[in-house]
């Protein structure tokens, strides 16, 4: 699905492919004093409308992030593939926070397997990646407003797409 008046979806095929290729995912939020907070996420799922994603946060680590999201909803999500550092950042607003269910857990398992293989490719032992805390998780549904390139290099920071593009 594409945005009204737009010929390309906000989350392009390329971005969706990147999401499924075993990326590191980091989430940033902020409090009312503009103090930043960040944490890693274990899983990222694009919605069929290609303008929303669900990000999965390990529940035990997410208190400060969830408090910020409840307060103001502003969120940035960076996904980066370890083997080539291909990196994108999504900016948006949190639309919904809910406990993950069994279907989410299955998606996370697939995501975690891809991440484990990707990191093993660059030398991180599989046993180490599997030690990362990930379950139980909280599903954060995000309305994406902008996508930026963050692969290291001269294009880093370039806006890739937004609802009006």
């Amino acid at each position: 699905m594409t945005q009204p008046g737009s010929s390309t979806p906000l989350l392009s095929d390329e971005i969706v492919e990147l999401m499924g290729s075993g990326v590191d995912v980091y989430v940033a939020t902020r409090d009312c004093n503009l103090k930043p907070e960040s944490m890693f996420a274990m899983g990222l799922e694009p919605h069929a409308n290609r303008s929303q994603v669900t990000v999965y946060l390990p529940e035990d680590l997410a208190a400060a992030t969830l408090a910020n999201l409840a307060e103001n909803g502003a969120i940035a999500v960076t996904l980066s593939r370890a083997s080539d550092l291909r990196t994108m950042q999504l900016k948006g607003k949190c639309k919904k926070i809910r406990p993950s269910d069994e279907a989410d857990r299955e998606r996370q398992l697939i995501f975690r397997a891809a991440l484990t293989e990707q990191l093993a490719f660059v030398g991180v032992p599989r046993s180490a990646t599997r030690r990362l805390v990930w379950w139980p998780s909280i599903a954060v549904e995000v309305e994406v407003s902008d996508v930026f390139v963050q692969t290291p290099g001269p294009r880093a920071g370039e806006r890739l797409s937004s609802p009006s593009s």
């Binding site: 969120i75 550092l85 046993s127 180490a128 030690r131 805390v133 294009r155 880093a156 920071g157």
Partner: protein, 465 residues
Amino acid sequence: MNRVTLESIWHALDGIAPATIATCACDGTPNVSMISHVKYVDARHVALSRQFFNKTTKNLDENPQALVVIWDPVSFEHYRLELRFLRSETNGPLFDSMSARIQAIASHTGMAGVFRLLAADVFEVLSLQHLPEVIHPPELETAPEFLPPHAQVPTEQRSELWALQRLLARIKAAQNLDELLQTVLGNLAHDLGFNHSLVLLTDETGRRLFTVASHGYGPQGIGAEIAFGDGLLGTVAERKQALCLAPLDHALRYGRAIRESAEAEGSLSPAAEIPLPGLPNAKSQLALPLLVCDRVIGVLAFESPRAGAFQAWHEAFLSVMADQFASALAQAVERDNPEEPDEPPPPSIASPSTATPASCFQLYKNDDCIFVDGEYLIRNVPARILWRVLTHFKKEGRTEFTNRELRLDPSLGLPAVRDNLESRLILLRRRLELKCPNVRLVSRGRGRFALEVGSTIALTEHEST
């Protein structure tokens, strides 16, 4: 959460593993970016490298609050650093140190001159927290993946000072350049477990390095050359600064990502990537300049297949040792000069064995290089020395030679001072051992050497390859 100090998490600093930085714009939009290098400055400050102007830079100008999350590539423990941006430094020791590292990565990936350090951004560390809840405790079988180096000496003899004292004593006792090189590299492996090392010396041009000794690589690396400014080793020589990259593959991936991005833009024709000499699976590399009175006489380099193999104290220890080693190297080269015999070498008539097949040496004049039995042997000054010696042997049957006669021969192109002749002879010996063991250059004491030939030899000259 446990209290930790910056000093206690050195494994996670200095670019060993990628990290993230979160900032926030004044309009309330958060941002999170990957960063390649969090450098320890002092107990309360760190610096981040800035190669490009980006959103993080803009946010910090508006709002100095930042949060960095780093992880230890050995233990996989995570840490969070609440930071306050203080200033950007564009010169000075901190900038120079971080810039040299960036230059080395850029050069390794064929990006020299394309990406460089714009600034070292200095932050005050407001809080530092260990995040033990991020990762489950390790299972027993995961531990052996990152063992410390296997030194062979008993633990009670492995304290840094004892090792340094032993090493310096052996440096002093070395009788010649060859012994000095073998002693230093051998002892560093035996005492400290540095099993892969190289010594490169500056050549006559003063702008190139050639490999004169190695440990742990076999004989193949001897003679390899690199220009000042190229790769990690060339950068160390150019900047006269020690550099530690670990894990190397992350640093190189970072450089390659920039290269691919720039190439995709179509605005770049990068130079050929320089293959790293040494271990194909190197994850840590440490290189130090060998300085005598601010003159670079060479580079001492180490590699390890383990991530984070070189600790902060290794660099300090090796810096002290490298200064002594450099002085001893310079003395060994000079020592060879004044005590040479003035008289010609005793006449000698060769009686080569005919039991082994002939060795065919081919000189290619345009390329200034020699092949033996169809394989590349050596080039430049050592090639000219060898050809001179072989020619005298072939025409006159001479087998005894002096360093002095080589120095007086203008066709060899040796400079009047600091000619590196002894190191060139060592290099030549090593290459012959590898490629043509029937022909040997044997030391006959200071300033003299002999050619020993165990087969018949044939010499042919060609204009070009």
